[in-house]
């Protein structure tokens, strides 16, 4: 019996992983297609537009552009899987090296944003569900509507105007003050952790005051999404019979809601949290531009504005791969946590 269950679990994992592989291949096919239909001649990008015909021809053969499309796609796949996204024209580094350098900044931002979303969104959603039509519900609805209607880049600008320029509560654009910039030895790439590891608490405070505003902006969107979903999951759970049973047993209402109801709502909520995390990685494209935050989003947009296709597509693939990975992870987690989903 246990064997058979383990087998079926393994089989559904297997199917899940096949799905992910196919999705990822499709993702690469899309980026390959985008690179192919580019109006920019990739050969000219290598040899320059005044190269003699024989040089041009040799470069074309080297790039494999004479081969059939499928063979070219195969070569492309091999390159991507060995981590070769080509060189960035803008920085003249390999794209992967660039991405490794900028990614921790985005990770820092999105992680803090999600943490804000979880700590505010879940209690708010629970309160809204248990006090429907009363003020916590209205607050949750307002934040939800606000989060879905405000352009994040504008919110960032307004935040800078109010909290940086007028009130002076936080630091302005950038990741850390210029005076600290070169003294922090990068260990993990996540600046807050690096400062702490270096024992430089002054720099830590400075970095935190730069970080708080952009991550609060992202946190608002996360809060809007998470609170809305928490509310609807909780309403569903609180109608279940086990809740009635718990109440009949004389359990305190707080315990019924927070220990029994929320615990069961947490399973679908984990998916929501993971999706919100993935969305914040994306939302960081605009936020990073506003706050001059040296992360992956700004790397992609900067490369885009200077027509640096290798960098754009490399960044796109990395973000897409993270999306696919997060989706897979939540699916597996949901199955492990909820026996009904197995």
């Amino acid at each position: 019996m246990a064997d058979r269950r383990a087998f079926s679990l393994a089989r559904s994992f297997g199917r899940e992983i096949t799905t992910v592989v196919v999705t990822f291949l499709g993702l690469l096919a899309v980026t390959f297609f985008i690179a192919r239909v580019m109006p920019v001649d990739p050969v000219l990008a290598v040899v320059g537009d005044r190269a003699p015909a024989d040089v041009y021809e040799r470069a074309r053969l080297e790039l494999g552009l004479d081969k059939p499309l499928l063979v070219q796609f195969w070569i492309y796949l091999q390159k991507v899987f060995s981590g070769d996204f080509g060189k960035s024209v803008l920085t003249s580094n390999p794209v992967l090296v660039d991405i490794k350098r900028v990614f921790p900044a985005t990770l820092e931002l999105a992680t803090l944003g999600t943490l804000i979303g979880i700590t505010l969104g879940i209690p708010l959603g629970v309160l809204a569900a248990t006090r429907q039509g009363r003020w916590p519900d209205h607050v949750a609805r307002f934040i939800g509507l606000f989060g879905y209607s405000v352009p994040i880049f504008w919110l960032g600008l307004m935040g800078l105007l109010l909290f940086y320029a007028k009130l002076g509560w936080v630091s302005g654009p950038g990741r850390i003050g210029v005076s600290y910039q070169d003294f922090i030895e990068p260990i993990t790439g996540v600046l807050l952790i690096d400062c702490a590891l270096n024992g430089d608490w002054d720099a830590f405070r400075n970095a935190a005051s730069h970080l708080i505003l952009p991550s609060a902006c992202l946190g608002l969107f996360s809060t809007a999404y998470i609170s809305r979903m928490t509310r609807s999951f909780m309403i569903q759970e609180l109608q279940q019979q086990y809740i009635t049973t718990a109440r009949v047993k004389g359990m305190s209402e707080a315990r019924v809601i927070w220990r029994h109801g929320l615990r069961n709502a947490m399973v679908p909520l984990l998916t929501v949290i993971a999706l919100s995390y993935a969305n914040l990685l994306e939302g960081s494209v605009l936020t990073e531009t506003v706050f001059a935050w040296p992360g992956l989003g700004r790397y992609i947009t900067n490369s885009l504005l200077s027509a640096d296709m290798n960098a754009v597509l490399g960044g796109t693939i990395v973000v897409g791969a993270i999306f696919v990975g997060i989706n897979l992870l939540t699916d597996l987690m949901g199955r492990l946590l909820d026996p009904r989903a197995r």
């Binding site: 799905t19 196919v22 999705t23 990822f24 499709g26 993702l27 096919a29 899309v30 980026t31 985008i34 239909v37 580019m38 109006p39 509507l145 879905y148 209607s149 405000v150 352009p151 994040i152 880049f153 504008w154 600008l157 307004m158 800078l160 105007l161 320029a165 993935a278 969305n279 990685l281 994306e282 939302g283 494209v285 605009l286 531009t289 506003v290 992609i300 947009t301 885009l304 504005l305 027509a307 296709m309 754009v312 597509l313 960044g315 796109t316 973000v319 897409g320 999306f323 696919v324 989706n327």
Partner: protein, 296 residues
């Protein structure tokens, strides 16, 4: 009036037209009972009116530069102040409603049919057709929307039409999912079997008998998606990849105001408020429509 009321609320409609009107009337009553949805509707209607009568409402020419009157604060003459080229921001926002509407319309008329077609075909035929189409849908769904739109714009080049194409290419998968789910609900029902027994072709069944069933939930989905489309388009405009100058696109206007944000706050603030208001309107209306149309 009472005649019309009786006609609309009749228990036994005499014609198909009357039945449809009666249903629309009932839905309108349901929508009317929801003040937030009505507020959303009012905002959307206002958007349409402002766009229609933009030249009459605007106090200035939205493109006319006045280099002597650069970056003026809001006043009786320039209600929302002027931008770095001395253009009247109020008039630019008013004319910007047209740009926004064009973007929304272009995206919606391309996304709706694509999603509807793919979803209904996948759901109706099932089997390999379904598997392949849904795999493709999942691939596009796996991409972060804005990043994929950025990659497409990189290929197509900046501009309002290309921005619309890029948004449409990234926005259709949820529509296909919705249409497929609706199709799966009805594909084995008796009325489809009856139509098939009468000899209707697959194309006729999908076009005439399945697609109409999917339309209400697609309308809800579209209305709820409008805000997202507007925000994405504004984001592309903000990055300089959407509508190109001198078009008064709200996102691009915010980008223009960015360098003056600390001293001339009005340049970036007002276009942002306009985006918020319109997005809010569509969100409220969408929520209301969902309650009315998506009874299931």
């Amino acid at each position: 009036m009472s005649g019309l009321y009786a006609y609309l609320t009749s228990e036994a409609p005499a014609s198909r037209g009357q039945a449809r009107l009666a249903q629309a009337y009932r839905r309108w009553l349901a929508l009317k009972a929801n003040p937030l949805a009505l507020a959303g509707l009012a905002i959307v209607v206002m958007l349409l009116l402002v766009a229609a009568f933009a030249p009459l409402i605007a106090t200035h020419d939205p493109l006319a530069q006045n280099l002597d009157g650069r970056l003026l604060p809001p006043s009786a003459k320039n209600w929302f102040g002027t931008d770095a080229l001395g253009r009247d921001i109020f008039s630019r926002i008013v004319h910007g409603t047209r740009v926004t509407l064009v973007i929304v319309l272009l995206v919606v008329i391309s996304v709706g049919p694509i999603g509807l077609l793919i979803g209904t075909v996948a759901g109706y035929f099932g089997g390999w057709t379904d598997r392949v189409l849904m795999r493709i849908t999942d691939i596009f769904l796996a991409f972060p929307r804005l990043v994929l739109a950025l990659a497409f714009v990189a290929v197509l080049g900046p501009g309002i039409e290309n921005a619309c194409i890029a948004i449409a290419l990234t926005a259709w998968p949820p529509y296909a999912r919705v249409a497929r789910a609706e199709t799966l609900v009805v594909r084995n029902s008796d009325y489809i079997a009856a139509v098939r027994l009468q000899g209707a072709s697959n194309a006729r069944i999908v076009l005439k008998h399945i697609m109409p069933v999917c339309i209400p939930s697609l309308i809800v989905r579209t209305t709820l998606d409008m805000a997202g489309i507007i925000l994405t388009a504004a984001g592309l405009g903000f990055l300089g990849l959407g509508a190109q100058p001198p078009l008064p696109e709200w996102g691009a206007m915010i980008a223009n105001g960015r360098e003056y944000i600390f001293d001339q706050w009005w340049v970036a603030t007002f276009p942002g408020l306009a985006i918020c208001l319109v997005a809010l309107g569509f969100n409220l209306l969408g929520d209301g429509l969902r309650d009315v149309l998506d009874a299931r």
